[in-house]
């Protein structure tokens, strides 16, 4: 028993000491850098890595080994990689909790490294982009350098709209008219397939239909802030209460009337999240989680499978006047705190993002073997063992070196339109909301309880599947208050106002 205990203790000590080691970088020692990225490996991973490493070895005495999360349990494995110090360089994104991880010390502060080893890269990024990546004043990632718009909106069937002579689904009234018009003309036609929202945004909304709120309110965060708060894009620091407002009741009543009209299934709360319904004509619009790229994908699908159908897209921002590009932290690269070769990491990163040949090699593989350019300068894949952006390194995108695909033309056209609209706002083309990171350590258990009440009571409200809205709203308000809403709101508001003050969003 004693022996067992001492063995246990000894091993535990070893275990706890493991992630501590960190020494100065010695250039004469070959550095094998693990670059952790999302998704699945391309088949020709080894060949492209060899080509990359031949250059890196000579220039920096370093090699890169891309390791992939695969798409199974990727959040879990991403966290494991951070905890087990399983990489040197790592893909980061706001949807992978970049801010939270940085705040908790997962990544290395980069300012000095960037000054010393990445001067070109720093110049290329510009202070504006880098500042967006700062968390509490420190820089933890290098953003991708390709301005893109992922503005939410409604994807709908333009051919049906024209056929039945219905209004463009811009405002909520028009969306209702569009759906109702189709329903009247063809009662058997499925309309919407909204589902319960999965984890990522579940502390803001309960059900997919809440995305429509972005079409009604000119909010700074697309569908409201956490804990039922809201603030307008023009006045971000003026936080107000949404859940306890009359607007909220009114919106819930609208959702109920839509549900009663049969715009979506009565069983929607347990729906299996069928992504393919729209592409197969089972739904005539998608309202949640849409963006320009998804519209392009659907348009291409239609062209292939159903040339008589036409997909169109209207961003909610066109209606509310709130439009801005994706945030810098949408795709980025960080260095793990535990990396043994932080200097080499920065040198390599700097090189990949500032050297055109290298960037193309990483993103598109070996020219002539995996891809070539056609007469119009478009990217053409030659071998699908290394597809476009085969390493899934969206974080290494650089606008100047990006090889365009034919679909990028339509996409760029949409971007240009949004950029123009975005320029007219009070904060021209600034994504305010996504740069904010909430630290909820102090009220985590209240937050958990609030989230649970939202799942239980808010989701049915937003799905319109309650018998009486007023009672259900009262019940929801009561329970969510009991769960500790005020503590969450206080904690959140304080941090949000600090953030607004820091960046001068008044």
């Amino acid at each position: 028993m004693k022996k067992l205990l001492s063995i246990v203790l000894a091993l535990i000590l070893c275990l706890s000491l493991l992630p501590l080691a960190s020494a100065a970088d010695d250039m004469s020692e070959e550095a094998n850098l693990v670059f952790y990225v999302m998704g699945d490996a391309p088949k020709d991973e080894v060949a492209v890595e060899e080509a990359i490493n031949a250059i890196l070895k000579e220039k920096f005495n370093a090699t890169i080994d891309f390791q992939f999360s695969t798409w199974t349990d990727f959040n879990l494995k991403y966290n494991n990689t951070l905890i087990s110090s399983g990489a040197d360089l790592i893909y980061v994104a706001n949807w992978e909790n970049y801010g939270l991880n940085a705040n908790n010390g997962a990544f290395l502060e980069m300012d000095e490294l960037l000054d010393t080893y990445g001067a070109e890269l720093k110049a290329l990024c510009g202070d504006g982009m880098l500042n967006m990546c700062r968390v509490n004043g420190d820089l933890y990632c290098i953003p991708a350098l390709w301005p893109e718009y992922v503005s939410l909106g409604i994807k709908y069937r333009e051919d049906l709209r024209a056929k039945y002579d219905l209004p463009y689904p811009t405002t909520l009234e028009n969306i209702e008219a569009y759906l109702k018009g189709i329903k009247d003309a063809d009662p058997a036609q499925g309309l919407l397939r909204p589902t319960n929202t999965e984890s990522a945004s579940s502390l803001i909304i309960g059900f997919d239909t809440a995305y429509l709120l972005a079409d009604k309110y000119p909010w700074v965060a697309p569908f409201g802030m956490p804990y039922g708060l809201a603030a307008n894009y023009e006045t971000p620091s003026d936080v107000y209460d949404y859940w306890f407002s009359d607007d909220f009741v009114e919106d819930c009543k609208m959702f109920k009337s839509w549900a009663d009209q049969g715009f979506w299934s009565k069983s929607a709360l347990s729906d299996t999240n069928d992504n393919e319904a729209y592409d197969n004509g089972l739904a005539v619009a998608e309202i949640a989680g849409m963006n320009p790229n998804k519209q392009i994908t659907s348009a291409n699908n239609f062209a292939k499978e159903h040339p008589e159908w036409e997909s169109a897209y209207i961003t909610y921002g066109e209606n509310t006047g709130v439009l801005y590009p994706g945030h810098a932290t949408q795709n980025g690269t960080a260095i793990l705190r535990s990396s043994k070769y932080p200097e080499r990491c920065m040198m390599v990163l700097n090189y990949i993002m500032t050297d055109e040949a290298m960037n193309c090699l990483v993103q598109y593989g070996i020219k002539g073997k995996h891809y070539e350019l056609d007469e119009n300068g478009f990217y053409v894949n030659l071998d699908d063992s290394f597809p476009y952006e085969g390493f899934n390194t969206w974080n290494l995108r650089v606008n100047d070196y990006k090889l365009k695909q034919p679909t990028d033309v339509a996409l760029q056209a949409m971007f240009d339109k949004y950029a123009e609209l975005g320029a007219k706002t009070k904060w021209p083309n600034v994504n305010i909301w996504d740069g904010f990171t909430e630290d909820y350590t102090d009220y985590a258990s209240e937050r958990a309880a609030v989230g649970n009440v939202m799942r239980e009571l808010l989701a049915p409200l937003q799905a319109g599947l309650v018998s009486d809205v007023d009672t259900a709203v009262a019940d929801f308000r009561q329970k969510v208050t009991n769960a500790g809403l005020q503590a969450c709101r206080d904690g959140f508001t304080e941090q949000w106002l600090d953030y607004c003050a820091e960046y001068n969003y008044q």
């Binding site: 709360l269 729906d271 350590t441 799942r455």
Partner: protein, 498 residues
């Protein structure tokens, strides 16, 4: 009291008995002294140089105000928590557990001593001694570990901030004395009871120990060493301090359990599990018996394979099948109801249907799998029993009732006991895939695991929450299983799990 021992005792000289009694009193004193010294009034760790230490820790005046200089090992963790010194957390936490174990063992030794006349035959005082010795070893370990902690802390902060209290040196001395005396007493008692110690057991059955080596290595690596992770339930993880030095936060991670409708969740989880266990086993036994009576070889195998098949249908696919069946507008059942002019049923907004649906699919998926164990047991039953019964004129129901079922009982009890340990753990996949995140149905379908899953997915990096929830489930299951095992052991030790 068993007779051979009492006669042996009577035969002893009275000298010997007074000597033994004297030693026993010393043992009792040792145990009491150790227990007293563990009380929080006795200082084990003292903050010797307050100003220097607190500034080395970088504490604010408001925090310092809350700190006291004298600590027992039982209270030291609260110092760690208030001063946010996660570095000392894991070590202190381990020591606290060892200390609690020492206290429990000393108390248990007393209880064993008082009950010495009622213990099982042939063991005499042996169990008392062995418990006492363990208690002494643990208290010794606590004291030595605390000295280690002080040395480590002083080294970490680079100054002699902590100093040991007098009690800290008394405990190991007392423990050693108690241990030595008890060892000597045990030796004479062993001879009396014809019992042997570890070394003798190893000499006799070394090959059995050899058999156990792979199992020992496996569980050490796969389970016991990672069990240190239970500590994370008490910390607020961050990457800077990493796993074992993140701030110790006491029971903060458990708060969310209290905040939820814990009673309701517990009730749902337990009820579902009980139904699954009871109905599941009854059906498995029922069908195992039916199949074993099918005369035709091929038919028997075919039906058995068919019943086994649902086990291979993954829950992800089951989810799609179920949704297709129960959906309101185009679901199979509602289509059927419409076709016979009956009103549609709104399954997905009516909680009361779901306990039935979930149980049904659970059984459907697991009857074939669980049945295998019973089939194998039935196969092992000697045919002589049945032949004899037939000669006695027992009909087939009587044969089942009086031969098959009783012989399946041990297997059933083992499976039951095994399942009871996980009574607070749920079939997460089953519930999550069939119900999804449908809040309307939660009143009847939310179990502990689905609740915890919802909470932890909204709180990335919340390793503590998940671990805390797991610990709660474990403790619950542990208490249930220890009680059940105790009851079963009293009735029939053959059936006990351990």
């Amino acid at each position: 009291m068993s007779s051979p021992i009492s006669t042996a005792r009577l035969a002893q000289g009275s000298d010997r008995r007074t000597d033994e009694r004297r030693k026993l009193i010393v043992l009792g004193l040792c145990a009491i002294l150790v227990l007293v010294l563990f009380l929080p009034f006795f200082t084990w760790i003292r903050v010797a140089d307050q100003d220097a230490l607190y500034s080395a820790m970088g504490l604010k005046a408001s925090v310092i105000k809350k700190l006291t200089p004298d600590h027992s090992i039982l209270t030291f963790l609260s110092f760690v928590e208030t001063s946010k010194q996660g570095v000392l957390g894991f070590w202190s936490f381990l020591l606290l557990i060892v200390a609690l174990a020492a206290i429990a063992l000393c108390l248990l030794a007393f209880i064993r001593y008082l009950r010495r006349n009622r213990v099982a035959e042939g063991k005499g005082m042996l169990r008392t001694y062995s418990t006492f010795q363990k208690g002494m070893v643990f208290s010794f370990a606590t004291a030595v570990g605390t000295i280690g902690l002080i040395i480590f802390a002083n080294h970490h902060y680079g100054l002699a901030g902590f100093a040991p209290g007098i009690s800290l040196f008394l405990v190991p001395v007392i423990s050693l004395v108690g241990y030595a005396i008890s060892k000597r007493l045990e030796k004479t008692e062993r001879v009396l009871c014809r019992e042997h110690g570890f070394i003798e057991e190893f000499r006799r059955n070394w090959i059995l120990f050899l058999f156990l080596v792979p199992c020992f290595v496996f569980f050490l690596i796969n389970n016991y060493l990672p069990m240190t992770g239970i500590y994370f339930a008490f910390t607020q993880f961050n990457f800077r301090d990493h796993l074992f030095a993140s701030p110790y936060v006491g029971f903060k991670n458990f708060e969310f359990l209290v905040r939820s409708e814990i009673l309701h969740l517990t009730q749902n989880t337990i009820l579902y599990n009980l139904v699954f266990i009871v109905v599941g086993n009854v059906l498995q036994v029922f069908f195992a018996i039916l199949i074993s009576h099918v005369a035709n070889q091929r038919l028997r195998k075919t039906s058995q394979t068919m019943i086994f098949m649902p086990y291979f249908v993954s829950y992800v696919i089951l989810r799609v099948l179920v949704f297709n069946m129960f959906e309101y507008e185009v679901g199979l059942i509602n289509n059927f109801l419409t076709s016979i002019d009956r009103a549609k049923v709104d399954f997905y907004n009516t909680p009361s249907y779901w306990p039935w649906i979930i149980t049904l699919f659970y059984l459907w998926k697991n009857v074939g799998y669980g049945m295998v164990v019973y089939l194998a047991t039935i196969t092992g039953i000697s045919t002589e029993y049945y032949e004899a019964a037939q000669i006695d004129g027992a009909n087939i129901y009587q044969q089942i009732r009086y031969i098959t079922v009783p012989l399946l009982k041990p297997t059933f009890i083992i499976l039951l006991l095994y399942a009871l340990g996980g009574i607070m753990k749920g079939q997460f996949e089953l519930f999550y895939q069939l119900v999804g995140n449908n809040g309307t149905l939660f009143s009847t379908t939310d179990i502990f695991d689905t609740y915890v899953y919802r909470i932890t997915t909204t709180q990335p990096l919340s390793m503590g929450l998940g671990t805390a929830a797991g610990l709660f489930q474990s403790l619950f299951g542990f208490i249930v299983i220890v009680l059940t095992n105790f009851l079963i052991k009293r009735k029939n030790p053959e059936y006990a799990l351990f």
